[in-house]
């Protein structure tokens, strides 16, 4: 009995990775909202969009994992800077 799923369906790992990527993108956008200057916000949103879109078609799981880590690091950096700027 063959699998009933369509051929383009993702495996569980790929599905979870996709969810993680979207989660990081969402957190990034939420953090960028807190930046005080409007021009900075626009620039950062454009930058985040470019970075994520550029690697949209990657298929190698390890590469994707590395990129997720990189994005999380950028996110934490941004959050720390915002915290410092606010204090």
């Amino acid at each position: 009995m063959g699998s009933r799923l369509p051929p383009a369906a993702l495996s569980l790992k790929q599905f979870l990775q996709r969810q993680k990527v979207l989660g990081v993108y969402r957190s990034m956008l939420r953090t960028i909202r807190q930046v005080p200057d409007e021009a900075d916000r626009k620039y950062l949103r454009g930058w985040a969009r470019e970075e994520f879109k550029r690697n949209k078609n990657a298929t190698n799981q390890d590469a994707i994992r590395m990129m997720i880590t990189q994005a999380t690091n950028h996110l934490e950096e941004l959050q720390k800077s915002l915290l410092l700027a606010r204090s």
């Binding site: 996709r18 969810q19 979207l22 989660g23 993108y25 969402r26 956008l29 939420r30 909202r33 969009r49 994520f52 879109k53 949209k56």
Partner: protein, 156 residues
């Protein structure tokens, strides 16, 4: 010196009250000269200030009022209009092809990153956060309207 500035401010406040209660002024003016001249300037200014303040207090009672602020009430129509307006402003959507039932991925050719951006824009527009798990299920403007109406208790 600060007393003098304050006095001038209060005087300008109390000026409209002059026309309203001239009787009071005459009374107060009669009382004022009773203040001895050798008193220090600050206390004379104080007494004059309280005279003006007294007058303005009496006349402006009618002007004091509380003001509350609130947003206009939400209806399904207004939610739909706002959702479509925000979507039309999004640069990746073609406004002509946008319908209430158009699917973001199948009809409008957007991808999941765009969908995240759209839901973020909706959060900004309506002022409340949409959690990840529910956000990823919203794939048409119709569903977004239904979800917001659910969360905001709007029903018709």
């Amino acid at each position: 010196m600060a007393a003098r500035v304050l006095q001038q401010c209060v005087r300008s406040l109390g000026r409209p009250s002059l026309r309203l209660c001239p009787v009071n002024l005459a009374l107060r003016a009669a009382v004022a000269p009773a203040v001895p001249v050798h008193r220090p300037f600050s206390s004379a200014a104080d007494s004059r200030r309280t005279r003006w303040l007294g007058q303005s207090r009496i006349s402006s009672v009618g002007l004091l009022c509380r003001q509350y602020g609130d947003l206009p009430p939400l209806t399904l129509e207004t939610i739909k209009d706002r959702v479509l307006y925000v979507l039309k402003l999004y640069d990746k959507i073609n406004p002509e092809k946008l319908q209430v039932t158009s699917h973001f991925m199948k009809d409008l050719g957007l991808d999941s990153l765009d969908q995240v951006e759209i839901i973020m824009a909706m959060e900004d527009e309506f002022g409340f956060e949409i959690p990840d798990a529910e956000a990823e299920k919203l794939m048409t403007p119709e569903e977004i309207v239904q979800y917001i109406a659910d969360k905001k208790d709007v029903y018709e």
